[in-house]
């Protein structure tokens, strides 16, 4: 039987399948099912500091609105002894997940203020997180803000957090850097033990009937694998950080591709949302079969064996790939 184990962020994992941050991870029963299905670790949903702040302000609004204005109704809602505003709910969930699961639990954080990032990171560590995934995404809309300034901001943030916590930290990236390898290198040098490629965002859409801008999230499919696949292949071996592939992992073939390109772990979300947590067990079984059929002894053998530095034709990952696709496109007559 092939050895499926791997190491990610210094954590010993029994296989390379890790459910990534998704609404499924909000439920303890779903987390248990993931573990039962064979997940090697789990990344919890993200704590959004901005949302926590908003909830706090909303709570204040609910409890203050209309109060002390009219003699008969000085307040309108009862005050509870305590509310879980801010990170409490998340930290409690993280704590419970740690209690319930034997596999590593990776907390995910999307900060809003420098103080918030650091404070919440510390609190996640204290709540028992085995590692921390920083869900960074800053959408620069100010034309005066340079790319370098955005990059420096990420580096500073990571540096601050690394100075605060002892658990390993990974950074989940967007693909939108002029030089992704350089950014990846800087992050690795600043202490990122892993890079997660790539973040998947809500993208706005326009409702042409209602003339509204509406948020839109499309679940991934296997075609979406290509973008992270390429960049993992490019980055593999060039920096001191593990690479995790997320976006587009749906099948055993996708997992194998990710490993071949250089990923240490492959992460699943859309597949589990669409077809259930049981898919982990199916993919693992198929992975096992594939390794046997293809006479691999371990996933370690696969890892990076088709990265940019390991393939005969590295240009396939570079510009030529683009050229070939373009030249192979023939419009219908």
């Amino acid at each position: 039987m092939p050895d499926l184990s791997t190491t990610y962020l210094g954590l010993q994992l029994k296989n390379p399948l890790v459910p990534s941050s998704s609404p499924l991870t909000r439920r303890l029963d779903a987390l248990r099912k993931m573990e039962d299905a064979g997940a090697a670790a789990v990344v919890l949903y993200s704590l959004f500091e901005e949302q926590a702040i908003l909830e706090s302000h909303l709570m204040d609004l609910y409890l203050s609105q209309g109060t002390e204005s009219f003699a008969e109704s000085l307040t309108y809602l009862p005050e509870a002894q305590d509310y879980r505003t801010g990170p409490e709910e998340y930290l409690e969930h993280l704590f419970k997940a740690k209690q319930a699961l034997g596999i590593p639990v990776i907390a995910s954080l999307n900060g809003y203020s420098p103080g918030g990032w650091v404070r919440y990171a510390k609190e996640m560590e204290q709540a028992g997180a085995d590692a921390l995934e920083l869900n960074t995404y800053f959408l620069a809309t100010d034309p005066n803000m340079t790319g370098r300034a955005v990059e420096d901001m990420y580096i500073q943030l990571l540096t601050d957090i690394k100075a605060t916590v002892k658990i390993p930290v990974s950074v989940k990236l967007s693909p939108f850097f002029s030089s992704l390898p350089n950014m990846a290198l800087r992050l690795a040098k600043a202490g990122a033990r892993g890079l997660v490629l790539f973040n998947r965002f809500y993208q706005p859409d326009i409702d042409i009937e209602m003339l509204d801008v509406v948020p839109h999230l499309v679940l991934s499919n296997s075609d979406d694998l290509r973008l992270p696949l390429r960049w993992i292949a490019v980055l593999y071996g060039k920096l001191e950080a593990d690479l995790a592939l997320t976006s587009g992992v749906h099948t055993t073939a996708d997992v194998v591709k990710g490993l071949l390109a250089g990923a240490t772990v492959t992460m699943l979300a859309s597949e589990l949302l669409q077809n259930g947590v049981g898919r982990i067990a199916e993919i693992l079984a198929e992975l096992d079969r594939w390794l046997v059929e293809h006479e691999y002894e371990s996933v370690a053998q696969l890892e990076g064996s088709m990265s940019l530095q390991s393939v005969a034709n590295p240009a396939a990952y570079e510009r030529a790939n683009y050229m070939r696709v373009l030249s192979s496109y023939a419009p219908a007559a």
Binding site: A52, I53, E55, S56, H57, L58, M59, D60, L61, Y62, L63, S64, Q65, G66, T67, E68, S69, F70, A71, E72, S73, L74, T75, Y76, L77, P78, E79, A80, Q81, D82, Y83, R84, T85, G86, E89, L211
Partner: protein
């Protein structure tokens, strides 16, 4: 409550009492009623927090459907051997009376705590006096009066301890608002104190008397003439013992705490010749005044009555100084037609029986009804009256009033308002704030800081106006080194803060500033420019009184700190900085500590924004160099326009200006009858932004006007020629109505009446094609538009109203051409109830009788000074009345019975006078269908003709002719509407509503369903949905909402509709029209978003949509008339649920708060709520299929 250590805390009377009552009870049955509601809320909250009582068990706190229900539950629990209490006031106490007789008759130990309040008579009042408790004086209960917050706490314990010993139940009362809501620094009691006072053997005996099938007895027998009388006399020894037991309990309490009380406590000169006997907080005023007068050498004193029942004549007489010659007994109630008010009569009787020596002259006076101020000046006037009585040898008058000017009966005493006994070492401060700006909350925190962080004593009392939105609050604070016994408002302030610049134009905020006082103004103008923006009278007072004048742009500070319009924190810092009550750094540290305590659990972000406001405050605070001369040309605005009716000018306007106390008795109607349509004269200008119409893109759908809660958006179609006289800025467009193709159309906003809620913009379906963020109606700052739009509004009003006979009324678009006869109410900005009432008034207002249950709709609908129900140009409009809370269906039913009977009588008379008035006219009058506006107009013309013919008889006709003339109006079809909230319809009034609907008469019931008791601050009703947080359901309501509509459907003969105008506006207007047209009873249950739901009401309409889309609020109409056509009467008007119920629920604080406070319970209840929705939808679908 601490186990062992007494603390000095600043809290209000309700909390002080509830702390004790909760600790000493096992079963607490409650029902909300102002001003006692907070006691129940505290009890419920402590139960939710699992706080134990004195015996280590969490009491059962249950909300009942009425005060009658609460009393019944308490009675049952008492009979089963539990320790019980309840809290109530006013009409609530009236509903408890039957049970109270029983409880006393069965010699059952319990205490009811009463925040004593006026009873509704010529008008309802929520404020304090003794009317309610005096109506309970024959129930056989002991009655114990406490005069202050400290006493309210202490007497709560004394009452519980004494009743257990004596077996006589005890009514412990204290004045609503003056004591229930006053915040004062008191020494609290500990668990050990309570334990020391409560006799465990008495508790065991109480328990042993409980019903128990192990040793059964029976109570509640029916007794007959042979024994009832004797049995009634058996209790005499218990009543005879009660005063002694209460005094012994007071003595034990004194030994424990050092606070000594007497049943009848005399304070004053030992050789006093003039004594005032008084009960309640007024006794403190009299005592302080007597103390002051004694220092001037006057022989005066006060006898405080603590125990009113049983009235212990001998002890009372002994408490008076033997030297007394004249006595004034003050009653805080009125008993019309009696020989005297209750305390007066008891005093006279007691003296007659127990006084030894020359009988003093006794006179009786009324004071302080409905929290009318009772000041030292008034107390002095009473002492002066006694002087006159004594000097003359007999009383000038046996009965008097004080505190008002009675120019009808001549009973009132004159007093010198300038007389003041304020202690020089007490600092007195007044703060004028806007309801929404947080002023009161900040002042409550300030009192706590002063009371608990300094050795000072502190007192706070808060006055609110009659409006729910844009209201003014006035905070009265006192603090100083000695305990503060001043149960009256500040009238000589060392510190005056005006938190809203616009108040300077409307109110005399410096009236009570003493010379040399500080004046702090929140001003958009800086220290160098503010002077020229002040009204002339303000400048004059600043100069004349040599005020120290400071300004701060608190709104700017607050906004920059992320606080929006809440300037509370900023102004609080300024108060501490200027007043110097604490060193600056200590004050700021204390404020921050208080902020963390108050807001900490709402999240760090909230704490930090408050801190930011604190930190920024002082650098924006500036002293103003006051010029020597008055320079302003700005005069205070006239309260009402010149063309206002005489009554409005003479009576309403002073009330609006805050001068209602100065109105004499003769100014007021004797029977509570007031003119309608008075809100139009009160230009409140409370909106910072108002809607602005864009005629270029408007499709004239009427939706903005339809949803406007305040009736400020109006539409008219008119002949274009009328525009010749229009102001230049008056907007118009070509009418887009097929009936009015050649007419012009205008949508006009009443700029000074708008509250700025923004619902209109949300409702507008049109988007500007070049700038999507703009609609056909958009919000813009009010101030730059005010003058222009005021002129436009005035012109708009001169345009003719639409001819009601030429348009269909049952559509949104057309209905909004009709004049609303409900306008400019003081409801919350964005209220979800008022649009339905406005629509009702548009469709049927000119022939409507409205019975309005007590609640929000009766308050914004009928609270003086101005009321929104209005008249049209013909002088017709809704005739409105409020009876009570519980009886509204019956009240409206009575209106229907009267109308029907009058119609029958008029019909009979018309038949008799057929020849006199003309057969053709008589037949037409009797057979007119009046199914539409044309028919109604024709009938009105016939009635006018009938009246002319009858009047032409000129008194020479028969008596029948005169009687017919009296009743002729009834030939025009009346529309009887029974209106109220869910607290009435689902709970307290449900029995009556059910009966009236079942009875089959033609009444229309409109239930404005906010799913909580909105008016009293959001308590759970049976309309509250599962999983919602509400008061009395702090941990989420575990049970589902009652389906009132479906219950009514089950009868089969009632027209029933569930509507939500934000979800389907056309369905709502159709339902109202069909209900009114249906020849039988109708019930419309209308979804009304509410401030108690915990979100910005601007989004009320979209929440209504989600409520329907999720299946939470399915829309339907059940029209029994369809049966005759062979159709299914049940029409489901909404589609199958398309979103899960959480998508609706979690946009609202009432649901989402539970996720944050009780996450596991929230999840459990959410799942059940979804199941509720699914089940209800399945039921409705079956009905819609005719199954």
């Amino acid at each position: 409550m601490s186990e062992t250590a007494r603390e000095m805390l600043t809290l209000d009377g309700n909390e002080a009492v509830a702390r004790v009552a909760y600790k000493l009870s096992e079963v607490i049955a409650i029902y909300p009623i102002t001003p006692s509601t907070p006691m129940g809320e505290w009890a419920d909250q402590w139960m939710a927090e699992q706080q134990p009582n004195l015996w280590g068990v969490v009491p059962s706190v249950v909300e009942m459907q009425s005060e009658g229900g609460a009393a019944g539950a308490v009675h049952g629990a008492l009979q089963t051997g539990s320790l019980c209490t309840t809290f109530t006031a006013s009409q609530g106490l009236m509903l408890m009376l039957p049970n109270m007789h029983k409880i006393a008759g069965e010699l059952t130990a319990t205490v009811f705590h009463i925040a004593a309040r006026s009873l509704a008579a010529q008008g309802l009042s929520i404020f304090g006096d003794h009317s309610d408790v005096m109506a309970a004086r024959n129930t056989g209960w002991a009655m114990l009066a406490s005069n202050s917050v400290q006493e309210a706490q202490d007497f709560a314990l004394i009452a519980h301890a004494a009743t257990l010993k004596a077996r006589v139940p005890c009514l412990h009362f204290f004045e609503g608002y003056r004591v229930s809501h006053e915040i004062n620094k008191i020494e609290t009691l500990t668990d050990d104190d309570l334990r020391a006072m409560i006799d465990p053997e008495a508790v065991s005996a109480h328990r042993a008397r409980g019903l128990n099938p192990e040793h059964p007895v029976m109570r509640g027998t029916a007794q007959n003439p042979d024994v009832y009388f004797q049995a009634r006399e058996t209790v005499n020894p218990y009543y005879a013992a009660m005063p002694g037991i209460v005094q012994a309990t007071m003595d034990k309490f004194a030994a424990l705490t050092g606070r000594r009380y007497q049943l009848y406590e005399y304070v004053g000169a030992p050789d006093a010749e003039r004594v005032i006997v008084v009960m309640g907080s007024g006794a403190e005023t009299v005592a302080e005044t007597a103390q002051f007068l004694r220092q001037q050498g006057e022989k005066v004193g006060v006898l405080k009555v603590r125990l009113f029942r049983p009235f212990a004549a001998a002890q009372f007489a002994r408490a008076l100084p033997a030297t007394v010659k004249t006595i004034a007994v003050l009653d805080r109630c009125k008993e019309p037609g009696s020989a005297g008010e209750p305390l007066y009569l008891d005093v006279v009787a007691a003296l007659h029986e127990a006084w030894e020596g020359p009988m003093p002259t006794v006179i009786g006076g009324r004071y302080g009804l409905s929290s009318k101020e009772f000041t030292p000046a008034m107390a002095k006037a009473v002492f002066d009256e006694l002087e006159k009585a004594w000097l003359d040898g007999q009383p000038a008058r046996r009965h008097f009033t004080v505190g008002i000017k009675d120019d009808v009966s001549g009973l009132s005493l004159d007093y010198d308002p300038a007389f003041s006994i304020e202690s020089p070492d007490t600092i007195r401060a007044m703060f004028y704030g806007l309801g929404a700006d947080g002023t009161v909350g900040a002042n409550k925190n300030s009192i706590k800081i002063i009371g608990e962080d300094t050795p000072n004593y502190a007192q706070g009392y808060f006055v609110y106006d009659s409006k729910k939105s844009g209201s003014m609050t006035v905070s009265h604070l006192r603090f100083g080194p000695r305990p503060i016994h001043a149960p009256y408002l500040v009238e000589a302030a060392n510190f005056v803060a005006c938190h809203q610049f616009s108040f300077l134009e409307r109110f005399d905020v410096l009236k009570y500033a003493v010379p040399g006082a500080v004046f702090l103004l929140n001003s958009p103008f800086g220290p160098d420019e503010v002077w020229n923006h002040l009204p002339r009278s303000v400048q004059q007072q600043i100069i004349d009184k040599r005020l120290r004048f400071y300004v701060i742009d608190a709104l700017k500070v607050a906004r920059e700190a992320g606080m929006g319009g809440r300037i509370n924190t900023t102004m609080q810092v300024c108060f501490f900085a200027i007043s110097g009550v604490l060193p600056k750094d200590e004050a700021i540290a204390a404020i921050k500590n208080s902020i963390r305590k108050t807001y900490g659990k709402r999240g760090e972000a909230v704490v930090q924004k408050n801190f930011a406001a604190v930190d920024a405050a002082l650098e924006h605070l500036h002293a103003v160099k006051v010029p020597a001369e008055v320079t302003s040309l700005i005069e205070r605005r006239a309260v009402v326009a010149e063309n206002a009716p005489e009554f409005v000018k003479k009576v309403t306007a002073p009330m609006m200006a805050g001068l209602g106390d100065e109105l004499p008795v003769s100014a007021l109607p004797a029977d509570g009858t007031y003119p309608t349509g008075t809100t139009q004269w009160e230009k409140r200008n409370i909106a910072s932004e108002i809607p602005v119409w864009d005629p270029a893109i408007c499709i004239q759908c009427g939706k903005c006007a339809y949803v406007c809660p305040h009736g400020v958006i109006r539409e008219k179609v008119y002949e274009p020629v009328l525009l010749d006289r229009a102001p230049e800025s008056f907007k118009r467009a070509a009418a887009r109505f097929k009936e009015f193709k050649d007419l012009a159309y205008t949508l006009q906003v009443a700029p000074e009446d708008c509250t700025g809620c923004g619902l209109c913009v949300e409702a507008c379906p049109v988007k500007n094609k070049t700038q999507i963020k703009l609609k056909a109606i958009n919000m813009a700052p009010q101030l730059p538009l005010r003058e222009q739009e005021r002129a436009n509004w005035e012109f708009f009003q001169t345009l003719p109203e639409v001819d009601r006979t030429v348009i269909p009324l049952n559509s949104v678009k057309y209905s909004q051409l009709l004049q609303p006869l409900f306008e400019f109410s003081g409801a919350c900005a964005g209220c979800g109830e008022t649009p339905y009432l406005k629509l009702l008034s548009q469709l049927f207002g000119d022939r409507a009788l409205v019975a309005n249950a007590t609640g929000c709709s009766s308050i914004y609908g009928g609270n003086l000074p101005t009321t929104p129900w209005a008249k049209n140009r013909d002088g017709r409009g809704p005739a409105w009345s409020n009876s009570l809370f519980e009886d509204n269906a019956e009240f409206g039913y009575g209106m229907r019975l009267a109308v029907d009977h009058q119609r029958a009588t008029a019909t009979q008379l018309l038949n008799e006078l057929r020849d006199t008035v003309g057969a053709e006219l008589a037949d037409a009058l009797l057979t007119a269908e009046q199914k539409d506006e044309a028919g109604l107009r024709a009938q009105r013309e016939r009635v006018a003709q009938l009246k002319r013919r009858l009047a032409a008889l000129n008194g020479k006709g028969s008596a029948a002719a005169q009687r017919l003339l009296d009743l002729a109006d009834v030939f025009v079809r009346r529309s009887v509407w029974i209106v109220g909230g869910d607290g009435w319809a689902y709970d307290i009034g449900y029995g009556g509503l059910d009966h009236v609907l079942a009875a089959g008469r033609k009444v229309n019931v409109l239930v404005l369903d906010t799913e909580v008791y909105s008016n009293t601050g959001g308590q759970m009703s049976k309309a509250t949905p599962r999983a919602a947080v509400a008061k009395f359901a702090a941990a989420g309501k575990p049970m589902p909402k009652k389906d009132l509509a479906l219950l009514a459907v089950s009868y089969g003969h009632i027209y029933v509709a569930r509507v939500a105008m934000g979800a389907d506006d056309e369905q709502a207007v159709k339902a109202l029209a069909e209900a009114e047209a249906y020849d039988g009873p109708s019930l419309i249950v209308a979804y009304a978003h509410c401030i108690a739901h915990g979100y910005d009401l601007k989004y009320g309409l979209s929440q209504q949509k989600l409520a329907v889309q999720s299946g939470y609020w399915p829309l339907f109409r059940y029209n029994p008339a369809l049966k005759a056509e062979g159709k299914n009467p049940f029409q489901l008007d909404s589609k199958a649920p398309s979103v899960s119920v959480d998508k609706y629920m979690y946009n609202e604080g009432r649901f989402s708060m539970l996720v944050q406070s009780h996450p596991d319970e929230a999840q459990r209840l959410l799942e059940q709520a979804q199941a509720d929705v699914n089940t209800r939808w399945a039921t409705y679908e079956r009905l819609a299929r005719g199954e």
